[in-house]
């Protein structure tokens, strides 16, 4: 599917791509545009080849794998939609889907609220504000492998630092990564910790472009601070907010290392997301067909969602 799309894209690119109308004499323009077409083709070619090789081909082949009962070594027999039926009727899939949904909702809105709050706070005059802005970006800058190691040290075992603090305060010994509910919460808090700087950056950039004179007008009209925030600030940064939600949704659904490095998907699959489930099905249970089917179902959902959202952002940017 993607292969043919890429090929038609290629032939279209070959047929006619010209720089925007520049009001030059007709003969000159046609000479330019034929030369332009050729140059544009060569400029685009490496990108198209890579897209076909790394994205198009695997997508088609994943479709083949999802409908066969093969392994990593051979393709196997064609089984139609049996893999999909098996996956959709398995409890593990729906458990992982529910966790992915919850993880995404908490990840997107948790990091957004924290990022928005900090961006608003940092917009005001604060001593050493610039320094805080830089320091608060560190969770996003530090590689996940490093931060998950640190979090593991902090909460990993009953004798780790944070459980010990709880114990010394007489609050019992919480098993942050061994208790299913607590582990799910810990993974989500970890995700919010990693992601809020991204939201802070996005919101800060959007706030910086808001014209402050609108606030003067609003306060003269007697708008309260809350009204100014909810009726001016939020609508003014709406476009950037939607974009950041969409991106964070994609980041959360596709996330593998945050979960896998902290809990490995456990305990008793409590933190197994769809990506983790697909990874384990293929590379630990060696069931290529069902594993790819899980990834495929995720992919289809994401493609539909991202096309719809893409159209909507386009619409809002035209307005």
């Amino acid at each position: 599917m993607a292969l043919t799309t890429a090929q038609t894209g290629l032939s279209r690119a070959r047929r006619g791509v010209a720089p925007g109308g520049s009001g030059k004499p007709a003969n000159r323009k046609s000479k330019l545009s034929s030369q332009t077409r050729k140059t544009f083709f060569w400029l685009l070619l490496p990108s198209v080849v890579l897209l076909v090789l790394i994205h198009g081909y695997p997508l088609v082949y994943a479709g083949v794998q999802a409908t066969h009962d093969g392994s990593l070594l051979d393709t196997g027999e064609f089984v139609g939609l049996e893999n999909f039926a098996n996956v959709l009727s398995s409890e593990a899939f729906w458990k992982a889907a529910r966790f992915t949904l919850l993880f995404t909702i908490v990840g997107v809105f948790g990091s957004w609220l924290l990022g928005l709050g900090l961006a608003l706070l940092l917009r005001t005059k604060i001593p050493a504000g610039g320094l805080f802005k830089v320091l608060l970006l560190l969770p996003w800058v530090v590689p996940v492998v490093v931060s998950s190691t640190a979090w593991n040290w902090l909460v990993g075992t009953p004798d780790s630092l944070i459980p010990s603090i709880f114990r010394n305060l007489g609050l019992g010994t919480p098993l942050f990564l061994a208790d299913p509910t607590l582990a799910a919460i810990t993974v989500m808090v970890f995700k919010v910790w990693i992601s809020f700087p991204f939201m802070m950056m996005m919101t800060s950039a959007a706030l910086a472009s808001v014209d402050t004179t609108v606030y003067e007008a609003a306060s003269m009209d007697g708008a309260s601070r809350w009204q100014q925030f909810s009726q001016l600030t939020l609508p003014l940064i709406a476009r950037s907010t939607y974009i950041s939600w969409i991106l964070m949704t994609i980041f959360c659904v596709n996330d593998f290392p945050t979960i896998y490095l902290l809990t490995g998907g456990g305990p008793v699959d409590a933190t197994t997301s769809l990506v983790v489930l697909a990874y384990r099905t293929v590379f630990q249970d060696f069931q290529t067909g069902p594993g790819v089917a899980i990834a495929f179902l995720m992919t289809i959902t994401l493609v539909v969602v991202s096309v719809i959202l893409y159209r909507q952002i386009r619409k809002s940017s035209v307005e």
């Binding site: 894209g9 690119a13 006619g16 010209a18 720089p19 109308g21 520049s22 330019l32 332009t36 140059t39 544009f40 400029l43 490496p46 990108s47 890579l50 897209l51 790394i54 994205h55 081909y57 695997p58 928005l116 706070l121 005001t124 005059k125 604060i126 001593p127 050493a128 504000g129 320091l135 608060l136 560190l138 800058v141 530090v142 996940v144 492998v145 490093v146 931060s147 190691t149 640190a150 991204f198 996005m202 606030y215 306060s219 601070r225 925030f229 974009i243 969409i246 991106l247 596709n254 593998f256 896998y260 490095l261 990506v275 293929v282 590379f283 495929f296 995720m298 991202s306 893409y310 952002i313």
Partner: protein, 295 residues
């Protein structure tokens, strides 16, 4: 939160006006400033705990050490007793190749996306957008089989090809967004002077695009340096590991050697932090990466 929103126009002394009411306002404003300072100080301190823990453990003497207090011997031992230097080298090779090739592929494609005014170009732009949102796990399994046949599994070149492929979509968008900000009249002038389209792209457009190139390069750098999923699938032998796999390999032992693993973790987080500190402005753009998704 709402106490924060409007401080810009309202709080603080009004210029050129003195008198009691305003002084009171400015005192309140000053008090508010220090409250906000205390609040953000507390939040920052809590947020940075995991990072501080990493650094502190890295310079704490290990269980078998005779040193007391501050020490750098963990760094020495992790490099002499493990393959850390090989892993560091592998990570550097893979990341730098990814950055170079990704920019070399994305810049020309981004130029076409920016200047092309046809349906095919906007269709390609949509295709890139859809592709970047796809979970890499879908393509990893077929690519594993394809690459296994080509000898590219457990191989740094295979890893680099996948990194280039997966950065390329967003990188192309980033370059296109930057080229959009360069007026087309610059190129038109050079065309009239007899410059070819390709010539004006490299000599006029690209030469004026350093910030765009830097942001794109930072994005590719972060993706390749931090990746774990592709590495765990494609790398098998310890001497081909990149740093993330190297750090993780400490946890396969029964007793994790925390001071050594933290020393290696510090080594791994230094390059992104250095790039971040040196190129702060471009970093924000590169870190945001897909903010151009709205194009």
């Amino acid at each position: 939160m709402s106490a924060v929103v409007h401080a810009h126009p309202q709080s603080g002394p009004v210029l050129g006006v003195t008198g009691k009411p305003n002084r009171a306002l400015s005192d309140a404003g000053l008090r508010g400033r220090w409250w906000r300072f205390a609040l953000i100080l507390a939040i920052t301190a809590v947020v940075l705990v995991p990072i501080m823990v990493t650094v502190v453990l890295a310079v704490t003497p290990g269980p078998t050490s005779t040193a007391t207090g501050f020490t750098l011997e963990n760094f020495g031992s992790v490099f002499s007793e493990t393959l850390a230097s090989t892993w560091l080298q592998n990570s550097l090779i893979t990341t730098l190749s990814t950055v170079t090739v990704a920019v070399a592929v994305a810049a020309p494609a981004g130029y076409v996306l920016s200047r092309g005014r046809s349906k095919a170009v906007s269709g390609y732009s949509l295709l890139l957008f859809v592709m970047q949102s796809l979970p890499i796990i879908t393509s990893v399994v077929p690519l594993f089989i394809l690459f296994a046949g080509m000898g590219l599994v457990d191989n740094l070149m295979g890893l680099t090809i996948i990194y280039v492929g997966s950065t390329m979509t967003v990188a192309t968008w980033m370059m296109a967004a930057y080229f959009d900000s360069i007026p087309i009249s610059l190129e038109e002038a050079s065309w009239i002077d007899g410059c070819s389209v390709f010539g004006s792209f490299t000599k006029v457009v690209l030469r004026n695009s350093l910030p765009g190139v830097l942001s794109t390069a930072i994005f590719a750098f972060l993706l390749a340096w931090n990746d774990y999923l592709v590495a765990i699938v494609f790398l098998r032998s310890t001497e081909i590991f990149t740093l993330p796999m190297g750090v993780q390999s400490f946890f396969q032992q029964n007793q994790t050697d925390w001071t050594s693993v933290m020393a290696l973790a510090v080594v791994m987080m230094l390059p992104p932090i250095i790039v971040f500190a040196a190129l702060n402005k471009y970093f924000s753009v590169g870190g945001i990466g897909g903010s151009l998704a709205g194009r």
